[in-house]
Every structure is written in C-alpha cells, then in structure tokens.
Symmetry: none
Subunit: 226 residues, 2 copies
C-alpha cells in the first residue's frame, strides 16, 4: 500500500488526482496550501509527496526546503506549470526527486509515484512475487512459509528480477546488479539463471524465469503463457 500526500491548491485538479490514486489502491491525503502540507508532512508518514510549485501561503520550493531541513527524506515529486530549466534546477537543488510539468497524463503521475515509492522501498525488506516472498534484509526466499534455499548470488539475481517484475531486465543490468564493477568474463550468468530456475521449480513455485531473446530475462509470477 502506498501512502501519498498531495499538496495542490487547484481543487478540481486535486479531486481528480485523488480519485484516480484511490482507484489505484493508494491511500491519499490532501492539503490545499503550503502550510497545511508542511504540517501533514510533520505529523504523518508518507511514501511519496506530490507537491505543486505554486501554492498559497508557502510555495512548493519552500515546503520542500523545510521538509528536507527537518530531516524528512520522503521522495518528493514536484508539479509545476512552469517549464523553465531554472525552476527544475532549483527544484532538484531543494531536494525534489522528480518533476512533472502540467498538464500531465494522470497515468504518468501514477507511474512516477510508483517508481518513487519503489525506489524508497529498497529500505522495505519484504517483497512478494507470485507465490513467493523475499526478505531482502535476511536474504531469504519463502513459499507458503517454507524456506526456499538460494545461494547469495542466486538471491541477488532473483532480487533484481523481482524488482523489475514483470518487466524484463537486460543481461548487462543483471550482471551489474550481481557483480557490480568487475564481472566474471564467462557464462556465469547463464549458470546462475539455470540454478535459479531449478531452485524455483524444486520449491514448486509458480514463478518462472522467462528469457527475452537478445535482451535478458523476466519474471513471470504465475507461470502462465504470455
């Protein structure tokens, strides 16, 4: 569940966005001016804050600045009608994590909110994929409460794939996720993918590792044909 705070003074726009976000199973709060927004930021816990730049009482940049200054590290997405580069730069400098220029497609906003929430959820230690659950902190994978044995390398591979799921991840990205800078020069990745597949199959999981020819691999949570 994603908690979103929207700070936006245009009531109509705000109402539309809130409706849509709630349809997407997000929990939303709303503030119509900067001061109210800042108070909510201080008192509640959010996964993402969507902040209009032009706000009554205290503008978006100031809100951003204050929030960061007070130690809040919740991802902030700036919303603005202005499109000048200066604003962008100032926005980023003030600690915004993303930017969206009005008018925007609501789907894009949702997508970016999800992206920001996920980025942060690197700190969240559990994630579900199909019938599997992976505990990132403890490097464990479980299915129906049963532990699935995976080696460290295989775990890193699975973690990266699950993060992108159901999108595909390129070989290069996978290599980087597993080994970082200096990577083995042979077909180690193939072997680990093979191990992962075998381990998932042995655990009886519905999750399948699919190959996208010429690109890389993808996790299919239900193992259904595409």
């Amino acid at each position: 569940m994603i908690r979103v705070l929207l700070v936006e003074d245009d009531r109509d726009l705000a109402a539309g966005v809130l409706d849509y976000l709630e349809l997407e199973n997000m929990v939303t709060d709303h503030a119509a001016n900067g001061i109210a927004g800042l108070n909510l930021i201080r008192s509640q816990r959010y996964d993402v804050i969507v902040l209009d730049l032009n706000l009554p009482k205290l503008d978006g940049l100031k809100v951003c600045e204050h929030a960061r200054g007070e130690g809040h590290d919740t991802p902030i997405l700036m919303l603005t009608a202005r499109d000048t580069l200066e604003d962008k730069v100032v926005g980023f400098a003030q600690g915004a994590d993303d930017y969206l220029v009005k008018p925007f497609a609501i789907e894009e906003l949702v997508m970016r909110i999800r992206a920001l929430a996920n980025r942060r959820s690197g700190q969240v230690t559990r994630r579900a994929v199909g019938d599997l659950e992976l505990d990132i902190r403890n490097r464990e994978v479980t299915r129906l409460g049963q532990a699935v044995r995976v080696s460290p390398t295989t775990f890193r591979l699975f973690e990266r794939l699950s993060r992108a799921c159901p999108e595909a991840v390129s070989r290069e990205d996978l290599m980087f996720a597993i080994w970082g800078e200096d990577q083995p020069d042979s077909n180690s990745l193939k072997v680990h993918v093979h191990h992962l597949r075998r381990q998932l199959a042995e655990a009886g999981s519905s999750v399948k590792v699919e190959t996208v020819t010429g690109l890389g691999f993808r996790l299919n949570p239900d193992g259904e044909a595409e």
Copy 2:
C-alpha cells in the same frame, strides 16, 4: 544503469566528464566530432545523448536534426558556450530535450542526465499500430492480448516501421535501424520483410506492410487500399 553518449571536441573537458559519469555508474561512449557521434547514435543504443553545439565536421544542431530525422528519439542534452535565446529556440526546435550552458557544474550535468533518463524510463514503452500493440521494453508484439511471435531482427524492423507509421521508411533507414554500421550485403532485408508479413498475416492482424517502389516500405494499420 544509464548509457550516455558524449559528443564533445574538447578532449580535456570530455575526459573529465567521462571520468565523473563513470564514477556515477554510467556507461559512456565518446565521439570528438559530429560525424563520429552520428555514427555511434546510429549503431548503439543510449539513454541520453550529450551533444556539444560547436563540433568539427558536423555541428550539434545538424547531428540532432539528422538523428531525429532518422527516427532516434533518445533524449538529447545540448551543451553550448553560447547563451542567446535564439540558440535555445533553434536547439529545442531541432529536437533537443534540455540545455546546459558552459561553463557548468558537473553535478548539474549529472542531475540533468538522470532526469532525462528517468523521464524516458517513466515514459510509456508501448505503442499501438492498428490492432497490434508493441512493447518496446520487453520486445514483444501482442494482438488482442495474444503474443505474436517475432524474432529480434523482425522486431527491430517492425519497431522502426511503426515509429514512422503511416509514413514510409527508406531501405537505408531500415537497414540502419536494424543493423547499424555493418550491414549484410545481400537481400536480407527482403527476407525479413517477408518474414514480418507472414507473421502478421498468421496472427490475423489487419496491419499490412506495403511496398513503396523505389523507396522502401510503409505500415498500413488497417490494410485498406490507399
């Protein structure tokens, strides 16, 4: 992982930037003149292109113009010593996505590169043509939810055609889109067009590949006579 192409003739500046970008885990290529840059754009895949305006052989604007003309939609960040409004306007008109005036802080460049790369990755990677949908990220084509099997090369061909649809694309452009620099010397393109046609027909799609004699090919979404 972000792939960056830097086209810049000042060797010192380029070296500094490249070092820094690599420290930031970006994968970089470098070209010291416009022609070389354009060739790399044609043959490689980048997430962001950083383009100096003043370049030997072919200036930045021309490179930008050619790249866009050939259907590349990679975000381009223009780098320039000039700061006149006209330059910005011309740059944006030519298809640049962002602008940075020399001298600049390297951190700012990094910030903007990230912003451009994210904007793109947040961007929808699906495209519709007639009754087909193609998912560029996952390299797959679907019709009514059913996957249409296409080989990597056929996909590249289809992707390029769909990008121009309903305009025609010349043989040359198609060859570049599929093979980049070194292209096969025989009638491979004909064969792949044939494959594509057969696969579309087998999938029952209304989309037809039409021949423009002496020029190249064109996608007709509805298969109606012209």
